[in-house]
Amino acid sequence: MNTAMLSRWLLFGEWRAHLVQVTVALIAIAIGVAMAFSIHLINTAAFNEFSAASKSLSGQSDLQVRGRKTFFDEALYPVLARHDGVAVANPVLEFDVAIPGKQQNRNDHKLKIIGIDMFRAMRISPDLLGLVEEGKTLDRLADDAIFLSPAAMEWLQVEQGDSLQLNAGLQAVTLRVAGGLVRARAGQRIAVMDIGSAQWRFQQLGVLSRIELKLRDGVNHAAFKAKLAEELGEAYWVTEAVDQEKRIANMSRAYRINLNMLALVALFTGTFLVFSTQALSVIRRRQQFALLRVLGFTRQQLLRQIMTEGGILGVSGSLLGLALGYAVALLAIQLLGGDLGTNFFPGVKPGIHFDPWDAGIFFAVGLSVTMLGSIIPALEAARAKPALALRSGSEDTAMAKLSPPWFALICLSVAALFTQLPPVFELPIFGYLAIVLLLIGGIALMPRLTAGFFSIVLAKWQRHRSGAVSTLALARLANAPNQAAIALGGILASFSLMVAMAIMVTSFRISIDNWLGRVLPADLYVRAAASGDLQTDAQKAIAGLPGFDRVDFFRTQQLTLDVNRPEITLFARPVDKADARNTLPLTDDMIASEALPENVMPIWVSEAMVDLYGYRVGEKVTLPIGVKSSEFLVAGVWRDYGRQFGAIQMQLADYQALTGDLGVNTVALWLQPGANLDAVTAGLRQLPFGAALEISRSSDMRALSLEIFDRSFAVTYLLELVAVVIGLLGVAASFSAQTLARVKEFGMLRHIGVMRRQILVMLAAEGGLLTALGMVLGFLLGWSISLILVFIVNPQSFHWTMQLHLPWNWLGMIALIMLIAAALTALLAGRRAVSGEVIRAVREDW
């Protein structure tokens, strides 16, 4: 026997006969791989470009010295320039300025200005040098000259020689666009000026952001770094390029990993589809396989035959998925940008690069899940006793071996255990594993639950009524639970994931909405332009305006507490001394005001500070605020959805006492009852510095925040939709395969007097009842998964907690749509059941 030829015949024969089922499985694998691959491509491209753009600003320095605060005294520069081992020291001042007229988009209205010493920069960061017109070399030092990257010129709609107006604190600054830059990355919006001019023009006299160091040849970098760090003390950080990369990677790591996880969920749902397609295909051909075994096919040959089918599906689907994923990534970057609208990678215009290694990994993942979906049915078919398998009616018993209850219970128990484990490398690895195990365990338990539930329904139904169609539908669901459960697998996986995501997103959205109400209690918020402060005279002028009931001043600044982590935000503001809860959205973890010891400076830290820096309520911590570091008492923990890398609130009076800095950058204004919002806004604008103020209504800020939230989650809705489509494809594939497998049953029913429409009603009832059960179980499973997402994955990834809220209307609507879609899908898939073929299927015996 030429087994290769036989294998080919069997393969092509099966595919020719069941082209639709094979195509559906292929599409499911392709969609799963495409989603995962496209998100990986987009994330990688955006991250690499963001990282490259950030690195391009620091040039080829060996070390960088930064302050714990955003700016530090420039007196350090000559010290470092003269330091042994330093070849070149390059002082840099880097800050953002607001662009008048672009302020309506709060996330995208700032231009990064880099002040450099042209002579030093030539040796460390030559890309940042300005391109001047011939004969105008001195423009690089001119105090009114600014050099813009191509993206910045395009964004600002200016050309060389044009004037550019920027806001510096409360004043407007007009500069001359002197030219472009030697090199800038696509989409990178930066401007370069002479450092002295930048300090003067933008009121940053005497301060620097960092000093880049090029070491002399032969100097040991690590030893020099350690020695310098010791010399400079705790007020400064000495970092290498690798630290920078780590810091950049940390900024978006949780976001990227969470998105990748969501994409893998789509692939995971696809695995169920492959499994159900293969399992049902094997069930349908059980007698054929038994015949082959009787005729001399060995177990291994049969196993190989089924695995080859799965393998070819996996290879084709994965290849198709890679191509589709690449195309989707290209399109998404064009339409939504590298961060898919979330603003995680601002000012970046990445290009998609095809990396064969990455593609190979995703191809392998796609192929592996397909093979995984094929192996269980293949093993069952190979192990089946031919004599038994030749008899019809043994199909469902055979599939019972696929889902032993102990396996499901072990999965669920391990999932429960995993929910109690801490994060790994600050990622909720065990949380995700718990979700996967919960899904597998839940689905594996389905046959038992389906059989139990429908047996009870059948018994009760027959006690009261006895219709043939209802009996047929219920008896099948009760007595062939394994096949029903296979059909249910896809819908259960996709619906439960959708429920989980919907609950998580709703909980998050409502929590954010409530939080915004707490953190934006005032009617109006006024900020100085990005690089400037409001000094005491300006504060007095604002506080003296009529129409306000209360005026609070805030001072915010960035602090670096760990060189490997992004900066944290410090808020100095008046906090209600009687009860801090009146000012801050505190959790229950707090010290009551009356219990606070005297002579301590309290701070209130965000949840991220607890997770990332280990701050505990009641603990004393040292922070680099003021001339020297000072000690503070952690008096409470507050919920912060705005800054996942950490934030601290302290009394403004404490801050001013420690630093002597009386400037503020935000003012919260409460209107007097009856005061007109437009009139008081006009009053603010009429102040001498009014034009330079950013005035926002809290209602607008709230609406904008929620709009950003919705945009950020747009991609998750898309992934949910994909999971649902894959789930429905699963229902279509399962019902279509079952219809094929049951063709003789329908034929017999037609013979004995069951009408076409009764068969259709029976199929719709089976589909509807099964989906309804799937909805209920999917809801329970999804609710459990949402608990993991809300209480484990989110706190461990983003370091914030939220309250659970269930979107009943939305869930009800989705369940109804799914129910109708599944019943229609079952009907469509079952239309063969009422064709002439079913009669012929029985006639084969005649």
């Binding site: 009616g393 006895s466 009996t471 007595n479 069951v754 009669i839």
Partner: protein, 221 residues
């Protein structure tokens, strides 16, 4: 009871299978139809059952032309007046034996009390709660006989009902079939290749290209 009037039928590809077939079967008769493979025995059963329509001619069941009925009416007729026994049994694997037998009663919307009686008649009174996978081939065909007769059909069509059974079981089943068809006052048509099976009928008919003819005593088909 059943009258075939000049029935003609050709396959889709044009090959004629039944030509000018006419025959009349009285109520309560039990006949066996024999014939070579491909002569059209199965096609004839499909036409009688209203599952297929003749190209020309008429098939009358108790005076009703079956080809004049639409699909629903033909289905209704089968449901009430026909019983089927197949070679491959065709019992539903996910229904118990009793549920399988009860199917025609449920379809006709009548009480299912007779199921127990039928199971007793076919010797399966203690197997009602069993599933088909727990039964032997002979037992499965007994279930099929019970299902074919439980609703007092006027006409029972059986196609090689013993084709999958050993001779002893086959003999038992054929006797049972005859007994039950007669006991229920039904008309029976048995299609078979087996002379032993045909011998259990009242009359044996040969289906040839020329039509249906009574087999002569001792004739081998």
């Amino acid at each position: 009871m059943l009258e075939l009037m000049n029935v003609n039928k050709a396959y889709a590809e044009g090959r004629k299978v039944l030509t000018g077939l006419s025959y009349k079967l009285e109520a309560g008769e039990y006949v066996a139809i024999m014939g070579e493979s491909g002569v059209g025995k199965s096609t004839l059963l499909n036409l009688i059952a209203g599952l297929d329509t003749p190209d020309s001619g008429e098939i009358m069941i108790n005076g009703v032309a079956i080809s004049s009925l639409d699909d629903d009416a033909a289905t209704q007729l089968r449901r009430e007046q026909f019983g089927f026994i197949f070679q491959a049994f065709h019992v539903l694997p996910h229904l118990t034996v009793a549920q399988n037998v009860a199917l025609p009663l449920l379809l006709n919307g009548v009480a299912t009390e007779r199921v127990a009686q039928m199971l007793r008649d076919v010797g399966l009174h203690d197997r009602g709660h069993h599933f088909p996978r727990q039964l032997s081939g002979g037992e499965l065909q007994r279930v099929a006989i019970a299902r074919a007769l439980v609703h007092w059909p006027k006409l029972v069509l059986a196609d090689e009902p013993t084709g999958n059974l050993d001779p002893d079981t086959a003999h038992e089943i054929l006797q049972l079939m005859r007994t039950e068809i007669k006991a229920n006052g039904a008309t029976g048509i048995l299609v078979t290749h087996s002379h032993a099976a045909a011998a259990t009928a009242d009359r044996v008919l040969n289906l040839t290209k020329d039509g249906l003819h009574p087999a002569k005593p001792g004739e081998r088909v």
